[in-house]
Subunit: 314 residues, 2 copies
C-alpha cells in the first residue's frame, strides 16, 4: 500500500482485511451518455486489477436497447485475460442475460431486487414478488452451471417515495435471495440517504434472521456525504466486503438523486489509515481515475482524487 | 428538525445532544478574494442563528493587511444583535486583536497554535513555544475581562511536511493552552488527512493526560472525504462539540491542500438521522448556503446542499 504516509492507527473491532468490490466499470459507466469504447473499458478493468482491486464488476448483460452503453458486454468480457475473468462479476437482469454471460465464460454473476415496492415498480416495472419469481430460475441455472451469484438489494435504508425502510423488508427480500442460492447480499443505499444507526439496524435484523455477516456486503452512495461513515459502522459490525466505484462515478440511472457511489479512493484512504488490508495501491488507483476522467471529460467527484490531483500533500 | 424524513435510528454510545460550532463566516469567508459586503456577512450570521446554530464564529480581529476580507470585524460585530453577540466567537491572533474585540463587547474569543513545528513556522512564523508564549498574556487578559477563550490546535493528526503527528505533541500543546485558562480545545485536522484510528488515539491521549472530554471539540476538514467518519468516532468517544462550516466553505489559507471544512449540512444530516439533537433546521441551513453560494458565485461543496439543490428526494 503506497500513497498515504500520514500514519496508520487501527481502530479496535475492525476486520484485518476488507474485500473492495469495484463496481465502476459497470455502475460508473452505465450512466454515460457518450459511448465509451470497449478498449477503454477493458483498460479500465485491467488498470483496476493492476491497482490491486480483488474484485471488479465489469458490465451488465442487459438488453442493449435498455443501456446502449453496455451493448458491448460480450466484446468486453472477451477482451479480459483469463485471470481477470475469474475475479470479475457481471450483472444479469434476466435469464437471457445469464445465458449470454455463461456463453462468454463468466463465472460470477449478480442479480438484483428492491426492498421497496415503489422502487421495484419504477426500476423493474414489477412487484417485489414478481421480480423475485423472475430471479429464482436465473439463480438456479447459474448455480447449476457452477457460477456464484451475488444479489443486490436496492433501497435498504430510505426510499424517496416511501421514506424510511423497515429492516424487516430488507430481511424478507434478502433471505429469499439467499434461499434461492445467492452466495452474497449487497445492501444498497440507492439514493445515499442512510445514516449509521440505520445501517446497524439492518445488519442486526439480518443477523437475528440467521444470516452470517460473511455473506453481507454494503453498497453506499455518497449523495448526502454519508457513505464512509456508514461503511465504518458496517465494518465495526463485522462486514468485510465493501462496494465502491473508482473515482466515485456512477449511481443508478433509474433512481432520482442517486448520483455518487462511494469513491474507492476515499474508502482506500480510510482503510489504509486504519491499517486494514485491501491490497489497493492508492497511487495507481488515483492515476486510473484521473485517466478515466480525461476520457469522460469531467473531474472525478472523489475527494481523494481531487486532493491528489491538485498535486498537494505529497 | 425538518427536512430529513428517511428515518431516525440512534446508535448506542452517542451523546443525546451535540453543539455545532459554525465557523463559516470566519473560516469560510477569509479565503474569498473578492470582498464580501459587511451586510452580507451580518445576514449570514443572522441566518445561521435563525437556522438554529447554537454557536457561530463570526470573524477574526486579524490585521487588515493580513486578511483584507476580515477588515470589517468591528463593523460586523456592531451589526449583530445583542443576543447573537453573546453566542458568537471571534478569532484573536494577538493582544491587539483581543483589545479590539473586547472594545466591541465580544465575550467569546478564540486563539490558535500548531501541534507541529513545521506548520507553526509556516503559518505563524514562530516556533510552537514562541506562539504559546504569545498566547499566554492574551488568554490571561481575556479571562480577566470575563471572556471565555477557545483554543484551536492545528495539525493534530497529519502534517504535509512532517507526516503522522504524535498524539503526545497534541497533548503537550493542548495542555499548555488549557493551563493558560482556555476553556475548550478544538482539535484541527488542518489538511483533512486524518482517519478514525488517529482520532481515537489523540482523544485517548488527552484523556490519559486528565483532559475532560467536555473540554474537547473536533474540527475536521473533508479534503480526503474523511471528516464525517472522523466526527462519528469522536462522538462515540464522548465529544459533544463539533466544528463545521455552513456549505462546507473554507479551510486554512496557509495550509497546502487544506480546502474543505466539514459541511454543517452533511453533519446535520447524519446527526438528524441518528436522532442526536442539534437544534439545526436543515432546510433553513441549506437555503442559507444556497443564498451564500449565489453571492460567492460558485456552488457549495456540501453533498447535502448539492443533493437538495437538485430538488430531489423531497
Amino acid at each position: 500500500m503506497s500513497g498515504q504516509g500520514f500514519g496508520r492507527v487501527p481502530l479496535p473491532g475492525l476486520p484485518r482485511r476488507v474485500v473492495v468490490h469495484d463496481v465502476g466499470p459497470r455502475d460508473g459507466l452505465q450512466n454515460e451518455a457518450a459511448f465509451v469504447p470497449t478498449a477503454v473499458k477493458a483498460e479500465l478493468v485491467r488498470r483496476l486489477y493492476d491497482a490491486g482491486l480483488p474484485s471488479v464488476e465489469v458490465t451488465s448483460f442487459v438488453l442493449p436497447e435498455w443501456v446502449p452503453q453496455l451493448a458491448d458486454a460480450e466484446e468486453l468480457v472477451a477482451a479480459l485475460p483469463g485471470d481477470a475473468l475469474e475475479r470479475s462479476t457481471v450483472l444479469v437482469p434476466n435469464r437471457r442475460g445469464l445465458d449470454r454471460a455463461l456463453a462468454c465464460g463468466v463465472r460470477r454473476v449478480a442479480v438484483f431486487a428492491s426492498a421497496t415496492e415503489s422502487f421495484s415498480a419504477r426500476n423493474l416495472n414489477r412487484t417485489i414478488g414478481e421480480s423475485l419469481a423472475m430471479c429464482a430460475p436465473v439463480v438456479a441455472r447459474a448455480t447449476a452451471a457452477g457460477a456464484t451469484v451475488r444479489a443486490y438489494v436496492s433501497m435498504c435504508f430510505g426510499d424517496p417515495w416511501e421514506g424510511a425502510v423497515a429492516p424487516a423488508d430488507v430481511v424478507s427480500v434478502g433471505c429469499r435471495l439467499l434461499d434461492m442460492g445467492c452466495s452474497e447480499l449487497s445492501l444498497g443505499d440507492t439514493t445515499g440517504v442512510a445514516t449509521p444507526g440505520q445501517v446497524v439496524a439492518v445488519l442486526d435484523a439480518l443477523g437475528d434472521a440467521g444470516v452470517a455477516v460473511e455473506r453481507i456486503a454494503v453498497h453506499f452512495h455518497d449523495t448526502y456525504g454519508q457513505a464512509l461513515a456508514n461503511t465504518l459502522v458496517a465494518l465495526q459490525h463485522g462486514v468485510t466486503t465493501v462496494d465502491a466505484s473508482a473515482g466515485g462515478l456512477g449511481g443508478c440511472p433509474y433512481a432520482l438523486g442517486a448520483t455518487g457511489n462511494l469513491a474507492t479512493e476515499d474508502l482506500a484512504w480510510q482503510l489504509a489509515g486504519l491499517g486494514v488490508e485491501t491490497g489497493v495501491d492508492l497511487d495507481r488507483l488515483v492515476e486510473t481515475s484521473r485517466w478515466l476522467a480525461g476520457h469522460l471529460g469531467r473531474p472525478s467527484p472523489s475527494r481523494v482524487v481531487a486532493a491528489r490531483s491538485a498535486g498537494r500533500n505529497r
